[in-house]
Amino acid sequence: MDPHSTPNDLIAQEQPGFSPAAAPSVVLSGVTRVFGVVPALVRADLRVEPGETLLIRGANGAGKSTLLRVIATAISPTYGSGTVLGLDLIAGREEIRRRIELVGHRTRLYEDLSARENLRFTCSLYGMEPRNVEDVLERVGLTEVAGERVRGYSQGMRQRVAVARALIRMPELLLLDEPYSGLDTEAKEVVDRAVLDAQRAGRTVILATHDLTRGGMATRTVFMDGGRILPQLPTPGHL
């Protein structure tokens, strides 16, 4: 028996015909994350079903990014436990990472590589053939500049490459952390189209934004404030 297995893992392994895809996409139970002495996420309980598009709203510093980064296994919970795609947040993080994509504020691109090279590198990391790189570049409207270094791109163009990276993999769980920041309307629509593509493909999407003009495609909305997921609709001040 794997000493790191959690009760959830064992239940999952014992169920005949268990498919991780049938498990809830995200289950968090009392997850707290503290940076130094500052709690960024406080006793978060969350359940997201497969195929759901969850919108997380909240002001800057509400804990949205920390929540998404915990789900993405980029950071570990200080307290609490959870599963992502049926896998334990700690013991199953290698497999979780294989099946999710986080599009964050920072686009995580190599400045001296072109958009095409960045995408091909992503394909190589995930052991994928770079067959649909050109198709995805066209979908995000970057075909003409795909061979130029990312260093010369605007923020909107960079975010399109980040979205293209998500599209090229079409992961089971897509996490978007303030993907509209600093984008013009056209680039925002590229992000929206990516979310809709993921929805149509039956993927689970969690979108965190404080942009009130976006997120209309969500099937459910939760609100965060002070690191907590609010149990009820917030006052207008929170919005």
Binding site: T73, A74, I100, L102, D112, L113, F121
Partner: protein
């Protein structure tokens, strides 16, 4: 995907960035050249003194150049948070360590191919008497520096540690490479390459220890 394939993918990416930007070589080669010329001028025209000190100066230049190279190699990961993309990918942490080490070792070897003949010309050394010993010393020493630099270069990702910790950790740890490299180079220059076996053996042991250590512990330096 195998560890070797993953390492090759990361090394190829780093080399592509280096070839594209010529950051490390663009800074490192002029630095090494200036250092050697400055020492040559300060030591004066005495050929014997120049020849005795040349191996040490050459290895000092290589050591400082390796520090600059690793700072650059990890800077490309931190500029736009790219390292997080690597960490969230299904890639063995050891492959990141090995890939970055291979890329910097390749860049340093290119630099050495330029700098060694320059030193030979400036200091009047004959590196042709024991070419195999000399090549072994530089290849093995560079692998050692690459392993140490790749292992601790990731610490430059920490904003508080960026400026101070890397040289403080790497320079003392690289001392065995410096000593063995200088000794083996001196013996090769003096035509006594056959006596350099123990120093080359030390370099081999150093390489194995740090390659193994890096492969095993690199992941712990990266995880939250």
């Amino acid at each position: 995907m195998s560890l070797i394939r993953q390492s090759a993918v990361i090394a190829a990416k780093d080399l592509r960035i280096e070839v594209r930007g010529r950051y490390a070589l663009g800074a490192v080669l002029p630095f090494a050249g200036t250092l050697l010329i400055a020492f040559g001028l300060s030591l004066g025209p005495g050929r014997t003194l120049l020849q005795e000190t040349a191996p040490g100066l050459l290895w000092l230049a290589v050591l400082f150049a390796s520090v600059l190279s690793f700072r650059q190699a990890y800077q490309s990961e931190s500029e736009d948070g790219a390292i997080e993309g690597l960490l969230l990918a299904p890639v063995d942490r050891a492959a990141i360590f090995l890939g970055k080490a291979v890329a910097v070792i390749a860049a340093l070897l290119v630099m050495e191919v330029v700098v060694v003949p320059m030193v030979a010309g400036l200091f009047g050394l004959s590196f042709g008497r024991e070419p195999l010993t000399l090549a072994a010393a530089f290849v093995l020493g560079t692998i050692g520096l690459g392993a140490v630099g790749s292992l601790f270069g990731v610490l430059t990702e920490s904003p508080r540690a960026r400026e101070a910790v890397f040289p403080l950790l790497v320079l003392p740890l690289a001392t065995p490479v410096l000593v063995a490299g200088v000794k083996a180079t001196s013996l090769a220059v003096g035509g006594r390459g056959g006596e350099a076996g123990s120093w080359l053996g030390l370099l081999v042991a150093f390489d194995l220890v740090f390659l193994a250590a890096g492969t095993l512990v690199f992941g712990y330096l990266l995880e939250d």
